[in-house]
C-alpha cells in the first residue's frame, strides 16, 4: 500500500469514527420505533443465564403483544449476543441506541460486560434494566447522579452474601470457612464476604482459599477447612468448580454444610454433578418455581412453550427478566416510547402486583434502583435433584 493510499485510508477511518461518535453523542431521546434492545451472553461461559433471560423476555413480549401491544402496535425485541465480552457488549449497546433506536435496554448477564456498558446507557439517557448481572457497582456508579438510568431486577453480590450470613446466624454457627475462584468475580465476592463476616462478628477460621475455576481437585483447600473445624463454608464458585468441591468433600469425608451463590442453582450444576453429588449443597436464590402462585404460573408456561428448545436453562434468570421486561412495558403504557420518560415512570410504578420474583409492588424509587433487597431471597438446598428452601434454624 502506498503512503498516499494509507493516509487516505487513515483519513477515511477518522471520518468514519467521527461520524460514529457524532451519531452516538448526537442521538436524541426521541425514538419512534417500539423496540426493546437486549445484549445477553448467548455464547461464552454464562450462556445458560443468557438463554434463560431470553426466554423470559420473549414470553413477556409475546403476552404483551397478544393483548394488543402499545396502542395496537407491537413491541419488538432486538437481541444481540455479547459473547460474554465487554467490548462486544459496548458495540451492541451502541448499535441498539444509534441504529435500532430502542426505547429501553435489558441485560447483560456478565458483570464485567455490565460495567463496560452502563456508561453508554447513562450518557445517552436510555434506561438499562439489568436482570442478571450482580456486581454492586452497576447500580452504585450513578447512584448520586441527578437521574440514574440503570435499574436492576437481580440480587447483587452483597445481598446474596447477606443471605448466607443470615443463615449462619440463624443456625448459630460461629466458625466460618471461605473459598473463592480466582476470577474477578470470585475475588470481589471474597472481599464482600470478608466484610460481612467481620460485621457479623463471626470467626473466619479457614481461608480465604483460592482455586482456579477449572481445578479438578480441591482436597488441599478443603482439608484446611476440616482442620480448622469450620462449621459452615462459603464458596464463590461457578457450577463446574462447585461440583469439584462437592466431590472433593466426598473424598476427604468432609460433611460441613456449605453454600455457593446463585451460580449453584443453575441446572448445569445438577447435570454435571448428578443428584447424589449435589445433595445437601446450598445456594442463594430469589425464586423457586413454587414460592408463589405467580411463580408457579410462569414455570408452567416456560415448561410448555420452551420445551422443544430444551427449556431448562436458568429459571431465575428467566423469572427476573420476565419481571424486568414487564416493568418496562408497564412504563411504556404509562408514558409512551420516550426513554427519558420511561426512566422516570419506572421509579413511580407502585401497582406491580403480578411479579414472579419477590419484588414489592413499588419496586423502584429515586433513591433505590435495586428491586430485590434483603427480604426477597433465601438459601435453597438441593434435595433429591430439586431445590428446597433451607430451614433457617
Amino acid at each position: 500500500m502506498s503512503i498516499e493510499a494509507r493516509t487516505t485510508g487513515l483519513r477515511l477511518g477518522a471520518i468514519g469514527i467521527g461520524l460514529l461518535l457524532a451519531a452516538v453523542l448526537g442521538s436524541t431521546a426521541v425514538a419512534a420505533d417500539l423496540k426493546i434492545g437486549f445484549t445477553l451472553s448467548l455464547t461464552g461461559g454464562t450462556d445458560d443465564y443468557g438463554k434463560g433471560a431470553r426466554m423470559g423476555a420473549e414470553l413477556a413480549l409475546k403476552e404483551y403483544n397478544d393483548k394488543g401491544g402499545y396502542q395496537s402496535k407491537k413491541v419488538e425485541a432486538v437481541i444481540y449476543d455479547d459473547e460474554t465480552k465487554p467490548a462486544k457488549g459496548v458495540e451492541n449497546v451502541t448499535r441498539l441506541i444509534t441504529r435500532d433506536k430502542v426505547f429501553a435496554m435489558v441485560g447483560p448477564v456478565n458483570s464485567g460486560v455490565a460495567l463496560a456498558i452502563i456508561d453508554i446507557a447513562q450518557k445517552n439517557q436510555v434506561p438499562l434494566m439489568d436482570t442478571v448481572a450482580t456486581a454492586e457497582q452497576i447500580i452504585e456508579r450513578y447512584k448520586n447522579a441527578p437521574k440514574n438510568y440503570i435499574f436492576r431486577v437481580s440480587l447483587n453480590d452483597g445481598i446474596q452474601t447477606s443471605f448466607m450470613i443470615d443463615y449462619i446466624k440463624g443456625r448459630q454457627y460461629q466458625r466460618v470457612g471461605l473459598m473463592h475462584d480466582s476470577t474477578g468475580w470470585g475475588q470481589s465476592g471474597r472481599d464482600t464476604a470478608l466484610r460481612l463476616v467481620k460485621e457479623a462478628n463471626l470467626d473466619l477460621v479457614a481461608g480465604p482459599e483460592v482455586f482456579d475455576q477449572n481445578d479438578t481437585d480441591m482436597t488441599t483447600q478443603l482439608t484446611k477447612m476440616q482442620e480448622a473445624k469450620a462449621e459452615f463454608i462459603i464458596a464463590y464458585s461457578l457450577a463446574p468448580a462447585g461440583v469439584q468441591i462437592a466431590k472433593s468433600m466426598q473424598k476427604i469425608g468432609l460433611k460441613t454444610p456449605w453454600t455457593g451463590t446463585w451460580a449453584l442453582i443453575a441446572p448445569n450444576f445438577l447435570k454435571l454433578g448428578g443428584k447424589a453429588t449435589v445433595e445437601g449443597v446450598m445456594a442463594v436464590t430469589s425464586y423457586t418455581p413454587d414460592h408463589s402462585a405467580n411463580a408457579k404460573v410462569l414455570h408452567e408456561k416456560v415448561d410448555r412453550i420452551f420445551k422443544e428448545q430444551g427449556g431448562d436453562f436458568h429459571p431465575v434468570a428467566t423469572a427476573q427478566t420476565y419481571d424486568g421486561v414487564r416493568l418496562l412495558l408497564r412504563a411504556l403504557d404509562k408514558v409512551g416510547p420516550d426513554p427519558q420518560k420511561i426512566r422516570d415512570a419506572l421509579e413511580e410504578i407502585d401497582d406491580f402486583t403480578e411479579a414472579v420474583t419477590k419484588m414489592k409492588p413499588h419496586p423502584f424509587s429515586h433513591a433505590n434502583h435495586e428491586s430485590l433487597g434483603r427480604d426477597t431471597g433465601f438459601l435453597a438446598v438441593w434435595r433429591d435433584g430439586k431445590l428446597e428452601r433451607a430451614a433457617a434454624e
Partner: protein, 295 residues
C-alpha cells in the same frame, strides 16, 4: 502429626492421578520429537477430541466404555497421521524451519473451534464407568476413575516403552530417531515411520482425554492446560528421555498438590518457579543428558 500425614497421603494420591496424565501426554511429545525434531503443540486439543468423541460413543451411542476408548484412540491416531501429512511434512522441507510451531498451533485452534461448534462451549458430564463411590486407601479418598487413570496411564507408558524396545516396528522407530540416514540405508521406510510417530503420539493424547474426562468433564477448552503442563513435564524431565518425562509428569502433578497444602494461591507459580530453577541448573532437563537407548 497424624493429621499432617493424612493430608500428605491425600495430596500424594491426588497428585499421582493428575501427574500420570501429564506423563502420558508428555510421552507423545517425546515420540515425535526424537523422530522428527518437531512437537505437536496441539496435543491438548487431541486430548479434548479424544474425550468428546469418546463421550459421543459412550453416552450418545451407548457403546461400552472399552469400545469408546478404542474408538477415541483410533480417531485421534488417524488425525495424527493427517496432522503429519497436512501440517508437518509440507513445512518441514527446510531442516531449520520452525513453521511447524505455527502449523500445529493453527491445527489446535481449528480443532477447538470445530469442537465448540459440534459439542458447544459448555462442560459436559462424562459419567465414570466405575461409578462415583469414593474408595478409601488408608486415610485418603480416591475415585475409582482416578485409580484407573493411574493404572492405565502408567501401564500405557510402560507398554509403549516395551513396544519401542522389543518389537520390530518399535525398533525401526527408534532407529529413525537415532540416525535417520542410517535407518534409511538399512531399508527402513523413514517417511512412514514419521507418520507412525505422529499416530502414536496423538493416540496417547486421545487416550489421556477419554481417561480424564470423567474427572474434568468433557469440553472444548479442556485440553489447553493439560497440554501446557505436559509440555512442561517433557522439558522438565528431559525431552529425549522417556523415563525422565515420566518422572517429570508425576513430579509436576505431585508438586501442585503438595504446594497447595501450604498455600493454594501460590501453588502454580511456585511449581513453575521450581521448574525454572531445575532448568537453570540442568538446561536439558532433569534427565536430559543421558543418551537415548541404543538399538
Amino acid at each position: 502429626m497424624s493429621l499432617f500425614f493424612a493430608k500428605l497421603w491425600q495430596a500424594l494420591v491426588s497428585g499421582l492421578s493428575i501427574g500420570s496424565i501429564y506423563a502420558l501426554i508428555a510421552e507423545g511429545y517425546y515420540i515425535t520429537f526424537v523422530t522428527t525434531g518437531a512437537l505437536n503443540f496441539g496435543q491438548g486439543e487431541f486430548l479434548m477430541i479424544g474425550a468428546l468423541f469418546g463421550l459421543t460413543c459412550y453416552v450418545t451411542f451407548g457403546l461400552p466404555y472399552a469400545v469408546a476408548v478404542i474408538a477415541a484412540v483410533l480417531l485421534t491416531g488417524v488425525m495424527g497421521a493427517a496432522l503429519e501429512r497436512g501440517a508437518i511434512r509440507p513445512v518441514m522441507r527446510h531442516a531449520l524451519s520452525l513453521s511447524w510451531v505455527l502449523s500445529t498451533v493453527a491445527v489446535s485452534i481449528i480443532l477447538k473451534n470445530a469442537a465448540v461448534n459440534l459439542w458447544g462451549p459448555e462442560q459436559i458430564k462424562f459419567p465414570s464407568p466405575f461409578g462415583e463411590a469414593v474408595l478409601q486407601i488408608g486415610s485418603a479418598g480416591i475415585f475409582p476413575q482416578e485409580l484407573f487413570i493411574i493404572v492405565a496411564a502408567l501401564g500405557t507408558v510402560f507398554a509403549v516403552q516395551m513396544f519401542l524396545r522389543r518389537s520390530l516396528l518399535g525398533k525401526a522407530l527408534i532407529a529413525v530417531a537415532f540416525n535417520r540416514n542410517a535407518a534409511a540405508v538399512m531399508g527402513i521406510n523413514v517417511p512412514r515411520m514419521v507418520v507412525f510417530a505422529f499416530v502414536l503420539s496423538s493416540a496417547l493424547a486421545g487416550l489421556g482425554g477419554i481417561l480424564i474426562a470423567p474427572i474434568t468433564f468433557a469440553w472444548a477448552y479442556m485440553g489447553t492446560v493439560p497440554g501446557i503442563k505436559a509440555f512442561a513435564a517433557a522439558i522438565f524431565g528431559g525431552l529425549e528421555n522417556p523415563i525422565g518425562i515420566l518422572i517429570g509428569g508425576l513430579v509436576i502433578g505431585l508438586l501442585e498438590q503438595l504446594l497447595g497444602m501450604v498455600n493454594s494461591n501460590l501453588k502454580e507459580g511456585i511449581t513453575f518457579f521450581f521448574i525454572l530453577i531445575v532448568l537453570a541448573i540442568r538446561p536439558t532437563g532433569l534427565m536430559g543428558r543421558r543418551e537415548i537407548t541404543k538399538v
